[in-house]
Symmetry: C2
Subunit: 310 residues, 2 copies
């Protein structure tokens, strides 16, 4: 037991991630009172029915009053606006964090909105499913996943202790915590998450537009690889629009490299250069072994998902 | 119970697919004697230790003698050579099939190799894991997966009955069977399997070459999407080299369309065109619903793999 770390938690935006934080924080006993602000009235009604928090309101300023930890879990594009709205209502000594997939532009906006005495510590739990909405959250979402915190260059007294407390909070939710520079975070995520999503969104669209192969056939015979992409390409459209626009520079750089590499392999196919293909494919297989060794995949039993699902 | 459909089954090449066919066929009771030919001596020794078949040999011609069903499960690039080698040893009335991911060029080679009176019915079970080798096979691999058969334009007496029998064989192994023109098969698979693999192989290589982000970081934070690609990119390098070279025309056409589509989305990111991104992402989400409806994905409980794995 960690004991209560934050007597009052306020979560702004209660979809998959916000809803999971609320559920996990309550389950782990690290918070006392929990307030949730959710702008969508239909979501709010559903959250009330689910009784996920002590206070459920449409007014973010009301929710954060007296809160010791404020987590912004809204769409990335409205983060700055919401931060400005709640800024004057934050209590001195409170910690303000977020959960978005892009950190540098958001971190700046949070610091601008927060008064002196509020500890701004941008964060990003690397966890999710393709579900969204008030029913999507669950308390186990963060277990054994990484949460990256990006402390700001602050010399305020108590800032280091605030970072430590937020680290313990995430650990109590089951996560492993890594501290990282915010710009570096945005580059790491461009590779490990944003490019994979862009690729998956693209390929699913490409398949949809074919004349020679029907959509029904694509779905029916998707087990050969395509199916995995459809899962990723079912992620929340608005959130991902925001992510790509906010992390534009890093994403464009990575996409350019990817296209070069794809053209390199495509050229090998065109000219029958089997050695180039085989060399490349053998190397990527090694990387998979690294992913398993890093504990980011079931190490055993040693089979693919196709088997696991039968 | 289907009863014995083929008194003797011969499988040439005993890796993931060949080894799974042998195990599934024995378990379901649709074959009597089972002979396996495997060219790799180390694999052969392991297959003997596992006792997967009644006869395990390095000589394909010996294995097919007297066989009623011969399944070629070797690397695609050596299929034509192996077919020519066993051709003279096939018994009249035997069925010759294969399991490769490309059908049109292979079908022609099989028909050339087989004497009159042998029923050539190319096939392709759409099932697999990223594992390979003698230990990779398991009897349940084909359960609830599709197997596509591509009957040739034959007017030989008994050909229709041979197709029906092979259909019943695959059904006994747990598969759903679909008949399809071989050229159409190659286009369908280019979209649903070959392009996804090429993309996954590419992106994993792109990540490896970055200077700003270490390989360790890529692995550690791979849960945001990248991890799924590493699984696909761990598939057998030699087999996939062969698939791309054999299905060159269809793959190049699909890759060209994919690149156009990726450039379209990339351009929207560059110019801040959020509406184009959101429209596209909302559409691909619908396709996911179709995949679930087509029974190619768990329909419920309704959560992503991240949750299932915790």
């Amino acid at each position: 037991m960690s004991g209560v770390l934050y007597p009052k938690l306020a979560v702004i935006g209660c979809g998959l991630i916000g809803g999971s934080i609320v559920r996990a924080a309550k389950a782990s006993g690290v918070v006392g009172e929990v307030a949730v602000a959710e702008i969508n009235p239909a979501f709010r009604a559903r959250l009330e029915a689910l009784q996920v928090a002590d206070c459920i309101t449409g007014d973010a300023a009301e929710a954060v009053k007296g809160a010791d930890l404020v987590v912004l879990a809204t769409f990335p594009s409205v983060l700055a606006k919401v931060a400005a709205e709640i800024g004057p209502h934050l209590k001195p000594g409170a910690t303000l964090t977020d959960v978005g997939s892009v950190k540098a532009p958001v971190a700046e906006a949070l610091s601008e909105a927060a008064a002196e005495g509020v500890f701004v510590i941008p964060g990003h739990p690397i966890a999710g499913t393709e579900q969204s909405g008030p029913d999507a959250g669950f308390a186990e979402l963060f277990r054994n996943r990484w949460t990256i915190l990006c402390p700001r260059p602050s010399e305020a007294p108590g800032y280091g202790a605030a970072v430590e407390r937020l680290t313990r909070f995430w650990e109590a939710l089951g996560a492993n915590v890594e501290l990282m520079d915010e710009k570096h975070h945005d580059m790491v995520l461009a590779v490990t998450s944003h490019l994979p999503h862009l690729i998956a969104y693209t390929i699913v669209g490409t398949a949809e537009h074919l004349e020679a192969v029907s959509e029904g056939e694509v779905m029916k015979f998707s087990a050969g690889g395509f199916r995995d992409f459809t899962r990723i390409a079912a992620s929340d459209p608005v959130m991902w629009r925001d992510v790509f626009l906010l992390n534009k520079d890093a994403v464009l750089e990575i996409v350019a490299r990817f296209m070069e590499d794809l053209q390199h392999l495509t050229r090998a196919i065109r000219y029958g250069d089997g050695a180039t293909l085989e060399d490349h494919f053998a190397r990527t297989r090694e990387i998979r072994r690294g992913v398993i060794a890093a504990g980011q995949e079931m190490a055993e039993p040693n089979f693919g998902r196709d088997k696991a699902r039968t």
